[in-house]
């Protein structure tokens, strides 16, 4: 594309005509909008993008985009996306989901996706609750949060996704807030551009089961320091920040994982020989 020509794709070209099932005011609307804005900025044709998710309110995103999508089962979006990306490296692969989907039922895949460092972007809409199943505590919920399932609170220390991502080897770590769709779009675009496994945690209020999260707009703030590529420094920051710092927080330059490719292809019939007496 030349500098003068109009961009081929606008954000709306990445949106489908399917009406989201979300509650009015849900943070996920903005995240959807940030994803489409980021894709417009990157000018990747929608047919070359695959959006993969598990189950949850947030996991509904794929069908609301005009990209290829896979709405899989609860917790398994990351391995599905890995299978797709390693066999179709030409695609831009984005994984979306919630904190329950990604950190609880899919927690093991989260660790190993960070470790494996396949070139893809993982966006978690963290609302510190299971929205779709109507208000149970998730791994990021505060220990004293009251719910019907766990009266009196879980009394379990919240999971620290960014710290875990860092420890597990994610190549890019950022935090966004759904109340800042343009800033989040920038983070997502940068995450997609960054090679390897990029993790973007987006604070995205569940207005129905956590109405107090509306207050996040007053609590979130840009990180006071520049992004670092120093693991030790990042570890200290991520472990001690207030959970509301937004922006790119860590980046690394580990080479993305790709399975070996053999330049000298043979025919399947060649394998017959090894069995012949």
């Amino acid at each position: 594309m030349t500098a003068e020509s109009a961009p081929a794709f606008a954000a709306k070209d990445f949106k489908s005509d399917i009406k989201p099932v979300w509650c009015p005011g849900c943070g996920d609307y903005s995240v959807l909008s940030s994803v489409t804005k980021a894709l417009a900025e990157l000018q990747t044709p929608p047919e070359d993008v695959a959006v993969v998710s598990g189950i949850g309110c947030s996991s509904r995103i794929p069908a609301y985009t005009n990209c290829y999508g896979f709405h899989g089962v609860h917790g398994r979006a990351l391995p599905l996306a890995i299978g797709l990306k390693v066999s179709r490296p030409d695609l831009t692969v984005i994984v979306t989901g919630g904190d329950g989907d990604g950190y609880s039922i899919g927690g093991n895949h989260f660790l190993h996706a960070c470790r494996r460092n396949v070139d893809m972007t993982y966006i978690v809409m963290d609302n510190q609750v299971y929205g779709m199943t109507k208000g149970q505590p998730s791994p990021t919920t505060e220990p004293d949060w009251e719910s019907g399932l766990v009266p009196g609170g879980t009394r379990i220390r919240p999971f620290m996704p960014l710290v875990v991502a860092l420890a597990s080897g994610a190549n890019f770590i950022a935090r966004g807030f759904s109340g800042d769709p343009n800033g989040t779009a920038q983070l997502i675009a940068e995450a997609i551009r960054h090679p390897g496994f990029s993790f973007v945690e987006v604070l995205s209020p569940c207005v129905t089961f956590r109405p107090e999260q509306r207050n996040w707009k007053h609590e979130t703030h840009p990180a006071p320091v520049e992004a670092t590529n120093d693991r030790g420094r990042a570890a200290r920051r991520l472990a001690t920040d207030d959970g509301f710092n937004t922006g790119v927080l860590f980046y690394d330059n580990r080479a993305p994982y790709m399975p070996p490719v053999d330049a000298n292809l043979t025919d399947v019939q060649q394998f017959d020989r090894e069995f012949a007496v």
Binding site: P45, R76, G83
Partner: protein, 581 residues
């Protein structure tokens, strides 16, 4: 040699057990024995048995050699050769010996355990330690190889050939010392009691292969076009994955080791969604973990192949032994109404065809196909006729060009609708485990649910499976219906009862799901009584045939769980007793 001695006459089939403690090399000796015999033109098979140790520990190699194809474990052993007797008793239930059997003890002065001598077997002893004193680097297992080959009449040049080809990597010294030990063994064999020689094999038959069922499944998968494999190790399926791993990149594919089976099945589904025929292989515990996502493949109509190499269950069960207990899980283990395909190889050789066929079925119907192999097929190394190379015109129905009206889950009349692959402009859709309308948009209406359910069922029920649905041998008014690794022993038993195949019909089902009662009825046309043979505790196959294939109420189950194999003799006795009734 005295020619009136019955033991000195030629035998069509000979079975030998080699046992020894950890590090004694019995598996290598067994493997070389099978390969030497194969070079000289014989058929055969070798199964392994070992104690619970991860590495080392007592081990046994069971080798059957024959001038005709071998498809069943033998009823008895002609010889037990013990390199030493440490913990050998562990194997006594697996090694039936009788008065015609010969026990060779390679450990001078050792007492042969009662468990082996109680059948009245002859005993001979070799002072192997003393014999090998002057052979530098000579090992007792190679001496054993020389003894056994010579007793059975396998030519020394076949043994030499194998030593050269198998030990080539270890260098000239290793070949030399092994050859010296084997030659010494051959010399010793002349002083041992007489033993039958193998009858001469046919000389110009088809090319022979030495292969395990797991390798055969891997080869079938590659022939079928599988180019992505996700793997999580589990006994006894790992060898499929390990065989495929270095070979996939050579044909433009790849294998990824996953963090668990939940991941491996989803990786396979993801790769397949991108257009690459994909597979994963596992055993019962892994299949149990995969079931939710197999449902996803079915609902989203994403082709995937899952090979389950069954082992003893439930739970961790008996990982190294065979059983057919995953049938119910494979057929009924998915939530919701989830029509899919379950197939089973009928022999080691057939692992090639059936796995290839499974790929063809999954790809053609855009569904999940489960291949039920088992430890006995998967881990047995066998000398077989080269399997035919059958080419299916396998092609996934892909929407190469799409227009505005494209609907991924269109109701086409066949149940199969063109699938657009990522990268195709205008073909964008979201594959979904949620019920959906033809376009793929989530829907919970009764109409969409009914239409899509019917679509997913129709394509599987109406597919043209050709004659591959079962192997049918023989004719007559009694039938034995069986499946999987039980087919070999059943065929062998039927051959003994009815050598010309006019009295006993053997039906081995390759297509287990969808159930095709009308085909089975046709195959059993004119049959008065049916015996159903399987290796399960609860007669799963019998109950399945009864409930879904309209099996006659007269049919009788014959079943037993693992770990001991069902041997042809007991099946033969059962068929004889039962045909007399």
């Amino acid at each position: 040699m005295n020619t009136s001695d019955p033991a000195a006459q030629a035998a069509e089939t000979i079975t030998v057990a080699l046992v020894g403690s950890g590090g004694s090399g019995v598996m290598t000796a067994g493997d070389f024995l099978l390969r030497a015999a194969s070079k000289a033109g014989w058929y055969g098979m070798m199964t392994r048995s070992s104690g619970p140790q991860i590495r080392g520990g007592e081990a046994a190699a069971y080798v059957t050699l024959s001038s005709r194809p071998v498809d069943a474990p033998s009823d008895r052993f002609d010889m037990l050769y013990a390199i030493d007797w440490k913990n050998a008793e562990r194997f006594s239930a697996e090694i039936p010996l009788d008065t015609a059997s010969l026990i060779v003890s390679g450990e001078a002065g050792a007492t042969v355990p009662d468990a082996f001598t109680k059948g009245g077997a002859r005993i001979a002893e070799l002072d192997v330690k003393a014999l090998l004193k002057d052979v530098s680097g000579g090992r007792p297992n190679m001496l054993a190889l020389g003894v056994v080959c010579t007793l059975m009449g396998i030519q020394p040049d076949a043994v030499e050939d194998v030593l050269e080809s198998r030990l080539g990597k270890k260098g000239a010294m290793a070949i030399e010392s092994s050859t010296a030990a084997a030659e010494l063994g051959a010399k010793c064999a002349r002083d041992l009691p007489s033993f039958p020689k193998l009858s001469t094999p046919a000389q110009n038959g088809p090319e022979h292969w030495v292969i395990t069922g797991n390798q055969a499944a891997g080869l079938g998968a590659l022939r079928g076009g599988i180019r992505f494999v996700a793997a999580y190790p589990i006994t006894p399926a790992t060898e499929i994955l390990e065989w495929m791993s270095p070979r996939l990149p050579k044909v433009g594919g790849n294998l990824v080791q996953a963090e668990d089976e939940l991941a491996s099945i989803n990786m396979a589904i993801g790769a397949s969604y991108g257009g690459t025929p994909s597979l994963t292989a596992t055993s019962g515990p892994g299949l149990a973990l995969m079931t939710e996502s197999i449902g996803l493949a079915i609902a989203s109509e994403t082709p995937v192949v899952v090979v389950d190499v069954m082992r003893g269950g439930p739970s961790t069960g008996i990982p190294t032994k065979s059983e057919q207990g995953d049938l119910n899980l494979a057929v009924f283990g998915l939530h919701g109404d989830a029509p899919h395909v379950v197939v089973a190889p009928t022999s080691i050789s057939d692992c090639v065809f059936t796995t290839q066929w499974a790929v063809h079925l999954a790809e053609s119907m855009q569904t999940a196909a489960i291949v039920l192999s088992d430890q006995a097929l998967g881990q047995t190394i066998s000398v077989i006729d080269k399997p035919a190379d059958i080419a299916f015109a396998t092609r996934r129905l892909v929407a190469d060009t799409v227009d505005e009206s494209y609907n991924r889950y269109a109701l086409t009349g066949t149940g199969v609708s063109p699938m657009s692959l990522p990268g195709t402009p205008g073909g964008q859709y979201t594959a979904d485990g949620l019920e959906h309308n033809p376009r793929g948009t989530p829907s919970s209406t009764a109409e969409d649910h009914a239409a899509q359910m019917e679509k997913r069922l129709q394509k599987i029920v109406e597919f043209d499976y050709g004659s591959h649905w079962a192997d049918i041998d023989g004719d007559g008014d009694v039938a034995v219906v069986t499946w999987g690794s039980m087919t070999g022993p059943v065929r062998e038993a039927a051959r003994r009862v009815d050598p010309d195949g006019s009295k006993v019909r053997v039906v081995s089902l390759r297509l287990l799901a969808p159930a095709k009662p009308e085909w089975l009825a046709e195959a059993l046309d004119g049959v008065e009584r049916t015996l159903v043979v399987e290796q399960t505790h609860s007669a799963q196959f019998y109950h399945y045939l009864y409930s879904h294939f309209g099996l006659d109420t007269n049919a009788e189950p014959f079943h037993r769980p693992g770990p001991l194999p069902l041997r042809p003799a007991e099946l033969e006795a059962k068929i004889r007793e039962w045909t007399r009734q």
